[in-house]
């Protein structure tokens, strides 16, 4: 089971999912109307480290975060 959190302006409660990698997460979120429009502009972190590949395996207890476009300052 992994936990998926949506940060900043994405108004969505966290999900708990049984998935093995980010490819599977992509498939799930593309079907989710609240989130699908955000995917193009979101960065992804696994356990608070930004990732650049869909292939890294996920393990039980991992935390995945979706980060929409930022504007600090």
């Amino acid at each position: 089971m992994v936990r998926v959190e949506f940060l900043g302006p994405i108004q969505k409660e966290p999900l708990e999912l049984e998935i093995n990698n980010l490819n599977e997460l992509s498939a799930v979120l593309k079907e989710d109307k609240e989130v699908s429009e955000w995917l193009e502009s979101c960065a992804v972190a696994v356990n608070d480290a930004l990732v650049t590949s869909l292939e890294a395996p996920l393990k039980d207890g991992d935390k995945i975060s979706l980060l929409p476009p930022v504007c600090g300052g």
């Binding site: 940060l7 900043g8 302006p9 980010l22 997460l25 992509s26 979120l29 593309k30 995917l39 193009e40 502009s41 979101c42 960065a43 992804v44 972190a45 608070d48 480290a49 930004l50 990732v51 650049t52 590949s53 869909l54 975060s65 979706l66 980060l67 929409p68 476009p69 930022v70 504007c71 600090g72 300052g73």
Partner: protein, 145 residues
């Protein structure tokens, strides 16, 4: 050093404290950057969300870069609401050398704008509206699309 505050920053106090902390560290240049909420588009202020775990690791990577050049950085940012003409952001570099300090504050502030996990909202007629048009997708975004 990274400091987060609820609401507006106390600019004079932070600038003074940071200056005092490094008063005998033998740095020749101290350059703070202070960001203040401007009145435009009829906003009453701005509001900020911060995701601290990734902000902390982003900041730590810049601290390391600074250290490699004999410099140090400090930063303060607001959480929540900051009204017109109040300040929400201060970044500062201390360095033995002027050129290092001038170049470092520029690249640090620009990468902050592009990468720090902070989300900005306009406060307008009692609502909190995501500043989508002024926001920047973090490098590598779109992985799941």
């Amino acid at each position: 050093m990274l400091q987060l505050y609820d609401g507006a920053l106390d600019v004079p106090t932070l600038l003074k404290e940071w200056h005092e902390e490094e008063a005998s560290s033998n740095y020749g240049a101290y350059i703070p950057f202070v960001g203040t909420v401007r009145s435009e588009d009829g906003i009453d202020g701005l509001s900020f969300d911060i995701y601290e775990p990734i902000l902390n690791s982003w900041f730590a990577s810049w601290q390391k870069k600074a250290e490699e050049q004999g410099a140090i950085i400090k930063m303060a940012h607001s959480r929540g609401d900051v009204m017109l003409h109040e300040s929400s952001y201060i970044a500062a570099v201390f360095s033995p050398k002027r050129r290092v300090a001038l170049e470092f504050i520029d690249s640090f502030v620009e990468d902050f704008k592009a990468s720090a996990p902070i989300w900005k909202y306009d406060l307008k007629e009692g609502k909190r509206v995501y500043a989508k048009e002024r926001s920047t997708a973090i490098k590598g975004s779109g992985l799941l699309a």
